[in-house]
């Protein structure tokens, strides 16, 4: 693991993504320490353009958009990470079970996975979000995670079932190791890089899903996320008012976060699947 990390540092793509992401995380963690104001406090007139005091102007309610943006990035990252953890964990468990045990259970789980790959996850996302009355950002994140595991499950299953009959796994079986131990010591290390990559992608897609669902007005309550800022801008017709600062920075922030995550993923992909490197 240590040596793969050292190789990763040499990948400019991975480093670009990781540094951008870390810079953003640093900003959203540190800035609120200096500016302790409430992002929801109305301190100016509606849609004031950016100036020295309000770095990104104000929104429809005269709130400081820069502060809102900082908190929005924070929520979006949180939601993305939690969703990524859930999606990866569920996908990993289902994929490992299905790929390692095989037989009927494999057939069943593969069928379920395939069915949920085809049913658009955002449809389920909308239906669940509509049905749940009080959505915290954590609940939203969990819902996103729960609806986006099939991809990971499918990839993990494919990897696991190809590993299942390798010699080292058979030796472990003959040696009488328990199934959980074989999975942990003989299977997981071989798919670890895939799982990490899947987690990075799931986090990116979690952030995008949160933004989409918030745009629809189904985002978390009592918080600010990048999607919610965009939703406010749209509902209160910021584009028509010419208030680009109300949605462009949020839009670019989403793109920056997902782009840096994709870059990290590509960097890892080039290192762990050398065929792509050409």
């Amino acid at each position: 693991m240590n040596s793969s990390f050292r190789i990763l540092i040499k990948s400019p793509k991975f480093m670009f993504g990781a540094c951008t992401l870390l810079a953003m995380i640093g900003l959203v963690l540190i800035y609120p320490l200096f500016n302790r104001s409430d992002p929801l406090e109305m301190i100016a007139l509606a849609y004031q353009p950016p100036d020295a005091k309000l770095l990104l102007g104000s929104d429809n309610f005269g709130r400081d958009l820069f502060l809102e943006l900082i908190y929005g990035i924070r929520t979006s990252l949180q939601v993305g990470l939690i969703a990524g953890v859930f999606a990866t964990a569920i996908g990993l468990v289902i994929g490992l079970t299905s790929g390692y045990i095989g037989g009927m259970i494999d057939n069943l789980l593969t069928a379920v996975t395939n069915i949920f790959i085809v049913i658009p996850s955002f449809v389920i996302l909308i239906l669940i979000s509509v049905s749940i009355d009080s959505r915290s950002s954590f609940v939203t994140a969990v819902i996103i995670g729960v609806t986006s595991w099939p991809w990971t499950a499918r990839a993990v299953r494919a990897q696991t079932s190809s590993l299942r009959n390798r010699d080292h796994v058979n030796i472990a079986k003959i040696s009488g190791y328990s199934t959980p131990r074989i999975i942990v010591s003989e299977i997981l290390p071989y798919i670890a890089s895939y799982v990490v990559m899947a987690f990075v992608l799931q986090t990116a897609s979690g952030i995008l899903s949160e933004a989409s669902i918030s745009m629809l007005g189904l985002g978390p309550y009592n918080t600010i996320s990048l999607g919610i800022i965009m939703n406010w801008a749209l509902v209160f017709e910021a584009p028509v008012a010419g208030a680009w600062w109300a949605f462009i920075p949020a839009a670019i922030s989403i793109a920056m976060i997902t782009f840096s995550l994709y870059m990290m993923n590509t960097g890892m992909d080039e290192i762990f699947n050398p065929k792509i490197r050409s």
Binding site: A111, N114, I115, I117, V118, I119, P120, S121, F122, V123, I124, I126, L127, I128, V130, S131, I132, D133, A204, L208, A211, S212, M215, L216, G217, L218, M230, A233, L234, P239, V240, G242, W244, F247, I248, A251, I254, A255, M256, I257, T258, F259, L261, Y262, M263, T266, K275, I276, S278
Partner: protein, 336 residues
């Protein structure tokens, strides 16, 4: 029965099962709302109404439609029966308009926007990805990060930016809607031109984002194919590069077709939100309205329609794929 026929039957069975599950979820999830959803919904929707007769009438309509007083199994039967007779219930927001009527008015707009946009974006993205893989060098170094960046922009983000730049600042295109509101929909040139002008921006924003995602996938597939043994062998037998490029393109394209099938759900979702930005009179905008008004029948009508459309698209792609990829045909033979 032929091998291909069996393949179709098998696929049909799976998609039918998936459809049943999608319908089940569509029925079940909204009923998880705590308490009596009908009274909750009606109380929310009739806020401000004073006429108790109307409230009672509304309440009764939904009580019958939901069959809330009956056991869940029976509710499901009522739901399926209504579904089969093409009845998706009555909209709360536009009471007493039936949901099917609203959806019927929106479907042509959505299909007219998304089908060409996704297909064009898919095709252009694949060509671009293949060229990037083949040319390498500067072209690849520029195209790839740009595609990756575009791909990380959510659909609606690009839509909002385009709306702001091209419709608002430059005034090149109209701000919202599917056509000029002064016009009455008709088969005139004027109306047609207006539709095209309103169509352009949402169309372009969907195309651009789709290109990004597809180009990345195709680039990867092409690089994989370019490194494969048959490329080397063909080269060593003196086959010219342009012909080998055609082999590679074709072989990398085939998985991209299944890729299209699998990502079409996400694309449709993104495009629906794109509609909202442009207030395009399609399903997405209606869903937005429905969510704001908590118009449950309309919401679940939209989700059901989207699920069915995506399943149908997937089924079609699977059928086409089975028909064109000889590897699939051979796999079917082995199955026998």
């Amino acid at each position: 029965m032929s091998v291909y026929g069996k393949y179709i039957v098998k696929k049909f069975f799976w998609y039918f099962l998936t459809l049943v599950i999608a319908v089940g979820l569509n029925f079940l999830l909204p009923r998880m709302i705590e308490g009596n959803p009908v009274s909750m919904i009606v109380s929310e929707m009739t806020q401000g109404m004073t006429d108790s007769d109307t409230i009672k009438r509304v309440y009764e309509t939904f009580l019958i439609e939901f069959g809330i007083d009956k056991p869940l199994g029976e509710q499901f039967l009522i739901y399926v029966k209504n579904l089969l007779s093409g009845n998706l219930g009555t909209s709360f927001g536009l009471y007493p308009k039936p949901v099917t009527e609203i959806l019927a008015s929106a479907v042509p707009w959505t299909i007219g926007l998304q089908l060409p946009a996704i297909l064009v974006g898919w095709l252009l993205g694949n060509i671009l990805g293949a060229v990037a893989a083949y040319r390498k060098g500067v072209f690849d170094k520029v195209i790839f990060p740009v595609a990756l960046f575009v791909n990380s922009i959510p659909f609606f983000t690009l839509a909002i930016i385009m709306l702001y730049v091209f419709a608002l600042s430059l005034n090149w295109f109209p701000l919202h809607g599917g056509y000029d509101y002064q016009l009455v929909p008709s088969l005139s040139w004027e109306f047609f031109a207006s539709v095209i002008r309103h169509h352009t921006l949402p169309f372009l924003s969907i195309v651009l984002v789709t290109i990004g995602g597809q180009a990345i996938g195709m680039r990867e597939m092409s690089i994989y194919e370019l490194n494969s043994d048959y490329v080397l062998y063909s080269k060593l037998l003196g086959i010219r590069d342009s012909r080998i490029a055609r082999y590679v393109f074709r072989n990398a394209m085939l998985p991209q077709i299944t890729g299209l099938a699998l990502s079409i759900g996400t694309m449709v979702g993104g495009s629906l939100i794109c509609e909202i930005v442009f207030s395009y009179p399609g399903i997405g905008t209606w869903m937005f309205t429905a969510i704001r008004q908590l118009d449950y029948p309309l919401i679940s009508g939209c989700t059901l329609l989207i699920a069915i459309a995506v399943l149908l698209a997937n089924f079609t792609i699977d059928i086409i794929y089975g028909w064109i990829d000889p590897r699939i045909k051979a796999a079917q033979m082995e199955d026998q």
